[in-house]
């Protein structure tokens, strides 16, 4: 019984790890966990333009994929990304 439990726990743990790595490429109807909660960002090296494009793509998925709260978070991410772009281009001395 214990051995079965150990095997099940190990399998669950391993599959969780695998899932985290697999989230780099979100599917059409899947959530982008890296954008949303900074999970599974292992291979993320987006330029600011790519980041803006990704967020806009995810926002367009709308309520079919994201809850209202999650969409609000994505809107906030969009605001932050635009602020990064503005700070890089900010004029002056």
């Amino acid at each position: 019984m214990k051995r079965t439990l150990i095997a099940v726990l190990t399998a669950v743990a391993l599959s969780a790890t695998t899932m985290a790595f697999a989230q780099d490429a979100p599917k059409a109807n899947a959530k982008d966990e890296c954008l949303l909660v900074s999970k599974g960002c292992m291979n993320e090296v987006d330029s600011i333009q790519q980041k803006l494009k990704k967020i806009n793509t995810e926002i367009k998925k709308g309520k079919k994929v994201y809850s209202a709260e999650e969409l609000k978070k994505l809107e906030q991410k969009l605001k932050e990304a635009n602020e990064i772009l503005d700070s890089l281009s900010k004029p002056g001395r």
């Binding site: 743990a13 909660v37 999970k39 960002c41 292992m42 772009l85 700070s87 004029p91």
Partner: protein, 476 residues
Amino acid sequence: MKKSSVLAAVLTLGIAAAATSACAFENEFHGMFSARYINSNFNGTSTTSFSDGAKYGGDGFYMPEGKPKNVFSSNFIEQRARLQYIAKANADLKLVTHFELDYTYWGNSSFGFNSAPGVSSGSGRNGGGAIGADTVNFETKSVYLDANVAKGVNMKLGMQPYNDSFKGILFDADMAGIAFSSSYKNFTPSIAYFRFNDSGVAQDRVLGHLTNDLFLLDGKYAVSKDLKVGAAYYLFRNNAVTTNSNLLNDVAKQDVKMSTFGLNAEYTSGPLTLNGFGVLQAGTVNARSTTAWALNAGAKYKVGPGTARTEFLYVSGDNKTTGHSNAFYSVFNHIGLNEHGYYDNEMAILGRDKNAYTTDNSIIPSAGNNAQGQIGGYIGYDLPINAKLTTAFNAGFAAVAKENANKPINTKTGGANKSNYLGTEINAEATYQLLDGLTVGTRAAYVMLGDYYKDVALNGTPENPYDFKLIFKYTF
């Protein structure tokens, strides 16, 4: 056997958990590189405050008085890179760092020595653009912690970029402090404290009481989807050994207690967006009681293939050196350079140029405009040609609000001109996207000087200023 199995399972779970948390840490790198060719009889010439010994291509001002009316045009290239690294532990906690490496102009200095003998040292920021390079010129712009410390409450702690809610006429700079913001349904309040300067070491070797500080409260409320209103209170307390550059008779040791109240609003209706603000200041500036104000209105209207824009700004001025003052108070650093800027008018010479880097001169460089104030009307049109090419066209008309002793002297009459009209600017720009992230753009600007400047040059009226820039810019 059973024990080892349990141990193995615990270890496996531990490794899995560690792997998952490692994935949760996000490293973000962003940056910008720009090089621009500048041809001008304004920037990088003696008609601005680019005097002997100046390290940069001018320190902000247009100063044609007492100089030859014709000057050689400048030809130079300015270069800047910015690097930003953000260490994000999770969605609620990140460290933001932002650095800058730039050359005021190619050929300025190397190995810490200026190319022009006997001029400034050439070491430090913006140096190293001459052959051989090898100059320490790494600048830290901002380093701060950005954390959601409670549900709906964000805290920014450290050296951070911060700007006012009034189109930058009061402050817009990197500053050290702590800022909280929140969001309750349609209401967004902010509270913050910043320390601009601490000059205690200059006087009595005690830190914390000869300081230049800002305390602020700010609130924005979305009345509906189309109407947003806001209010702000800023308390400027400057007790530092520094300059403020807002008065005619500036002093070395400041004593400023200035309360600033402001209201702003934005309304959108179909293709039309209206916005504006009103700011009222009351307090004392270096023992002078002060009441000052600023008014702004702006509009954008989608018409034809593009968007038409208009802006109006009035800032009060003062003409005395004693008694009650109407000079507008905005933020300067301790070397007298303005740490604020009004860019919505899209001017390149009349107002601060959105494309200016270290060489950053304008006819109206600050909101208070040497205590003269300002009255300006501006119009423009943004015209996108296709997905890669955008253009814009602008015109501006500006005068000082109040004549004072900062007005230049007419060399023929020996007195100041009657006219307060500074000039009319026209400018045009085009930006083309060469590659993903890389643009090449150009902006040309020309100002027909007003009679404020009539015969103020050594041998007549200064030549009308122009400025041309060709800009390559890569952001990632």
